[in-house]
Symmetry: C2
Subunit: 103 residues, 2 copies
DNA sequence: CTGGATCCGAATCGATACTG
DNA sequence: CAGTATCGATTCGGATCCAG
């Protein structure tokens, strides 16, 4: 509970679940409003909990990709149920802005 | 998400789910560590969201009982799944102090 | 591009005192 | 018993600057 209670945490997981593995900058742009500090903190915490992985590619410039681990996926399935309730109670409008056109 | 992200929120719901309708003072004692202010805030918020009800009995002294609504129960079922994951990942020790012997 | 370090204002939260 | 009101310490989080 403490883990998920942090700001942006659930939303970050959610974004990763809809986008698949995503790079740091893309996440920052996608989440819009989150600060570098927050994003880094959340990513570190979730990584420490084994909910997501960090893939570092030492190119120039470096590329770092984050994605859900198996545990992360399991957690997402619970969050999906939560979303079902949210939709049922508040309607689709309450859903996160899933404006993804991933192509 | 914002709703559940608040401090004590999930735990409070959890306690109410294992105790059934509970009075203010009992909740405060049960949750141990929460301040009056926090508890009141959380209760108000959850009531406003229709997750729990407030029953006021104008006796002397007054008795106020809080309990889960139907919506609250639905949400608990999701939290239970979350608990399943927690137990699987961290073991029973990480569970809330569910020291209930319901028989 | 991906962060780490620092500073500082804003929001939070607990403790306390008080009421019906 | 069940809160409300206020105040002050603390924490939090964003902005900024810097580096590999």
């Amino acid at each position: 509970m403490d883990l998920l209670s942090g700001p942006w945490t659930m939303y970050l997981l959610w974004v990763l679940s809809t986008q698949g593995p995503t790079r740091f900058g893309a996440l920052k742009r996608r989440i819009e409003g989150i600060s570098t500090k927050m994003l880094t903190e959340r990513l570190r915490m979730l990584e420490a909990e084994g909910l997501l992985f960090r893939h570092y590619e030492p190119t120039v410039p470096p590329q770092v990709t984050y994605g859900l681990t198996e545990r992360g996926q399991e957690l997402i399935s619970v969050l999906n149920l939560l979303d079902d309730l949210a939709v049922r109670w508040y309607g689709d409008a309450a859903s996160p802005p899933c404006t993804d056109a991933p192509q």
